[in-house]
């Protein structure tokens, strides 16, 4: 397991480093499997992020979908939320998003959506995977082959829908600095400037896709690189950083401070919950406990699911849409019901700006008003065979806390918790500790020591 991982095929789709990992043949087979999986002859919406390899992958996906009898509506370079929005707007049978969101430029991936732009359920994703592995695809006869249609104006109706939900007029007062990280957000925000007169200043907005100005990782560290230092010189009221397909967002305050990506969900919960009293917040068990504190203020409850998008989707299906206020993770990815439960960074940005407008507050005031939580994160390689043993040892050592074992091991005390789990994307064990107030250094070092002794 010490080889660098270049390809990952799972319920979430296929993801890899283009060339050595992800090849044209994977693309053809996966898209043919999706074409076989869908109801016969339904139109499929397609879009891609700015990566250069997206053109190659697009060609393969188009060929496979046409060959399985589907008409393809290609939106070109667009964000994932725009693809999902279009699927639902035109009543398409499904969609494919080509893009590796927060991964480095050499990566790419395929994500699949069903009718209404919703993510595939675990059962559906697993059927898709079975078709892929069987490689028995339903290619149609020559008279049934689908047709390709290009549509390059999908952003406008998406923006119109956003304008229904947010009072964009009231957001014109803010000077907003955005690091697009050479991703699809640049195209949407440029349009938003033109149409709604928002005062947006875009950096890293070129969309050539060979190299990104920096990794599109949504974290406090990335925000600290280029966005935060520019805030004061530019005199911006708020700063936002998007990943390549614009489903995640991170922020910087007007004072030039990068804010932890963990803060996005609690802030948005604080904005959304008063509007929908009694509804739930759905998140994963690695996300900050500040979410519970904020929810409690509004009399709302938090449901915690295992880590990963698929687990969040499955958790969502356990509730009726009107029971849920919002769902999200500590990665800066948040979905709100106004947007059909789609992770949407642009909507998150507008919600935060609306909060500033409604409260007549500066971003730093909003951020600093929350009690301080300190999180420590670490990762170590591991020996798969001894993992159960390791988790058991840790559970025994901390038997005075409340144990959750839906995904690795989480132990909670009042104002303090830790989570030890195996990453889904890399061969490492992740250790996360959080405490209200100062960082839980002793706890963190004890856990890291125990994990290290099992390597």
């Amino acid at each position: 397991m010490n080889e660098p991982q270049l390809l990952r095929i799972s319920h979430v789709g296929v993801r890899g480093v283009v060339g050595p990992g992800l090849t044209a043949s994977h693309v053809l087979d996966f898209a043919s499997a999706f074409g076989t999986f869908l109801a016969p002859k339904v139109p499929v919406v397609l879009g891609r992020d700015t990566r250069a390899s997206g053109v190659m992958i697009r060609e393969g996906v188009v060929a496979a979908l046409l060959a399985t009898g589907h008409d393809v509506i290609d939106l070109g370079v667009v964000s994932t939320p725009v693809i999902q929005h279009t699927i639902s707007r035109i009543g398409a049978g499904g969609g494919v998003s080509i893009g590796a969101s927060h991964n480095a430029a050499e990566w790419n991936a395929l994500k699949f959506f069903g009718p209404n732009g919703i993510y595939l359920s675990t059962a559906e994703a697993s059927e898709l995977l079975d078709i892929y592995h069987l490689k028995k695809f339903d290619f149609v006869g020559w008279t049934e082959v689908g047709k390709l249609c290009l549509q390059d104006n999908a952003i406008d109706p998406y923006l119109d829908d956003l304008a229904q939900v947010f009072d964009l007029e009231s957001l014109r007062q803010f000077k907003v600095l955005v690091d697009c990280c050479n991703g699809t957000s640049a195209l949407i925000l440029r349009r938003m400037k033109e149409h709604f007169g928002l005062n947006l200043i875009l950096i890293n907005e070129k969309t050539e896709g060979v190299d990104f100005a920096h990794d599109p990782a949504i974290s406090r560290e990335t925000v600290g690189l280029q966005l935060a230092p520019l805030m004061q010189p530019v005199g911006a009221d708020a700063g936002f950083l998007f990943d390549a397909d614009s489903d995640r967002v991170a922020i910087a305050t007007e004072e030039g401070n990068p804010v932890s990506e963990e803060m996005i969900l609690p802030i948005l919960a604080d904005y959304v919950l008063p509007r929908v009293p009694g509804r739930l917040v759905i998140t994963n068990i690695s996300t900050t406990a500040l979410v519970e504190e904020v929810a409690a203020r509004h009399g709302a409850k938090v449901v915690r699911a295992p880590v990963g998008r698929q687990a969040a989707i499955d958790a969502l299906t356990g509730y009726r849409p009107e029971q849920v206020a919002l769902a999200g993770e500590g990665t800066g990815a948040v979905m709100m019901p106004q947007f059909r439960f789609v992770y949407d960074g642009i909507a998150s940005m507008l919600a935060i700006l609306s909060m500033m407008a409604e409260r007549k507050a500066r971003l730093s005031e909003i951020v600093n008003a929350y009690p301080r939580y300190s999180m420590l994160k670490g990762q170590l390689p591991f020996a798969s065979r001894r993992l159960p043993e390791l988790l058991m040892e840790i559970q025994m050592a901390y038997s005075d806390g409340h144990v959750t074992s839906i995904d690795g091991l989480r132990v909670d005390w009042p104002d303090r918790w830790f989570h030890v789990r195996v990453s889904q994307t890399e061969p490492v064990v992740r250790v996360i500790c959080e405490q209200r107030g100062d960082p839980p250094v002793t706890l963190f070092e004890d856990l890291m020591g125990r994990v290290r002794s099992y390597v």
């Binding site: 044209a24 043949s25 250069a52 053109v55 060929a63 060959a67």
Partner: protein, 454 residues
């Protein structure tokens, strides 16, 4: 249990099959990637005929090319010769045409061209197919992946320019010929109308020039499939009619009386026209009529014979620096001063030009050719019996000189017979030619008898 029919052929001539169960996007993509790996980094021209599966396959091939690090130029729907000329004109590394030429509409195929816009020779084809089977393709990383550019405009211009260097356009335009056209709704639909109407100033009467519609007739242009063209010629009083195949490389011609000419005679007329313009020898395949030899002799030129197949003819033409060449029975005309490829447009231009120069009608010109009688046929044979069949055939014609470069051709004083095994089916293809109908029947009968007896 009945054997399942496998309607796919992957071999040295590329990849061809019925789209759906057999020719899949995955195969086309892998072949594109093998091609991109083989020719090396650079531009590849990709175009197609009007088959309903062309767009799908073009995307699959482009995916493979991009994955190999090639830069793709999409020229859209164009005739095969126009794509070949585009490759040669623009210094691309190679080209791929998605077309199954004269095959029925359920088929499609990849035609592969090198940097000169020529079909790969047999050695190149062998290397490419080996590379395809080894699957060790070049896999470009994100930073090495090039894009796709589109050029739907310049292809026809480049092609017309090359042809117009060899004919007197003004002389043609002055005559304002009334011309009929049947493009089988193929890749030549728009371009042939433009060529005949706007460039050559003809009074055009066209049918089946809608590239969005399916093929209305059998794809191969021959007397049986061109009855509508013949009727159009008579109805509208046209001086000549042209029939194309779906990818515009083959040409059939109808005279002003509505009679579709024998393709060997068409080739002979074009050879005559070409040799009048251009000094050089002639190359045709073994099955082409001797009428071409008679025409070449009038110009004091020699005829070289090759095995059947465009690539074979082109290879030899290149080697002997031929002025003109082609394959009689299938309507292929190759004029290297335009490009070393089968080109229906050169054929159309030369015939009209000849009519303008001589003032003769096309039927008069055909009537002036020496008269030969020809018969083609096919018989199936059992595997393992081919050698014996050929031996008994040779014994049926004792002491007759034989050419064994492609099957067996027996050269008699007043005619010839040619028998060869098909490359694609378990069939023997028979051809015979003689100066009189009676002699032809006698020769053909002897061939059939010899094959049946053994």
């Amino acid at each position: 249990m009945p054997r399942r029919e496998h309607l796919l052929k992957i071999g040295v001539s590329g990849i061809r099959g019925v789209v759906g169960d057999f020719l899949t996007p995955s195969l086309a993509c892998a072949f594109g990637q093998a091609f991109g790996t083989y020719i090396g980094r650079g531009r590849v021209i990709v175009g197609r005929d009007t088959r309903m599966t062309g767009q799908m396959l073009q995307h699959a091939v482009s995916c493979g090319l991009l994955a190999a690090g090639s830069e793709v130029v999409d020229v859209g729907v164009l005739p095969t010769p126009t794509i070949q000329i585009y490759v040669a004109d623009t210094g691309a590394r190679g080209g791929i045409a998605l077309t199954a030429s004269h095959n029925p509409p359920e088929y499609n195929a990849l035609k592969l061209f090198n940097s000169e816009g020529l079909f790969f020779n047999q050695y190149e084809r062998g290397e490419l197919i080996d590379l395809y089977h080894q699957s060790q393709f070049r896999r470009a990383a994100n930073s090495e992946i090039r894009g796709i550019t589109q050029d739907y405009e310049s292809g026809p211009k480049r092609h017309f320019e090359r042809i117009l260097r060899h004919v007197d356009v003004e002389a043609i335009r002055r005559r304002r010929f009334r011309v009929a056209l049947d493009s089988v709704n193929g890749a030549g639909s728009a371009m042939s109308c433009q060529f005949l109407e706007q460039i050559l100033g003809c009074d055009l009467r066209a049918i089946w020039v809608d590239p969005g519609k399916p093929f209305p007739r059998e794809a191969e242009p021959k007397p049986e499939s061109l009855t509508e063209l013949a009727a159009l010629v008579q109805r509208e009083g046209c001086e000549i009619g042209f029939g194309q195949d779906p990818d515009g490389d083959r040409l059939a011609v109808c005279d002003e009386n509505g009679r579709v000419l024998d393709n060997d005679d068409v080739l002979a007329l074009v050879v005559d026209a070409a040799l009048a313009l251009h000094a050089g020898d002639v190359v045709v395949n073994l099955t082409t009529s001797s009428v071409v030899e008679d025409v070449a002799r009038r110009h004091g030129r020699q005829v070289f014979r090759t095995p059947v197949g465009e690539a074979n003819v082109v290879e030899r033409m290149r080697a002997v620096k031929a002025a003109i060449g082609g394959e009689g029975s299938n309507g292929g005309i190759i004029f290297p001063a335009v490009h070393l490829c089968r080109d229906s447009y050169t054929g159309m231009a030369f015939l009209i030009h000849r009519m303008a120069q001589t003032g003769k009608s096309i039927s008069q010109m055909a009537a002036e050719l020496p008269k030969y009688h020809r018969r083609l046929g096919k018989v199936s044979y059992e595997h393992g019996r081919l050698g014996m069949l050929m031996q008994s055939l040779e014994q049926a014609f004792p002491g007759v000189p034989a050419d064994r470069t492609d099957g067996l051709k027996l050269l008699l004083d007043d005619g010839w017979v040619h028998v060869r095994a098909s490359n694609t089916e378990p069939l023997l293809r028979l051809a015979a030619e003689a100066r009189s109908a009676g002699r032809l029947e006698e020769l053909y009968g002897r061939v059939v008898q010899a094959l049946q007896q053994s």
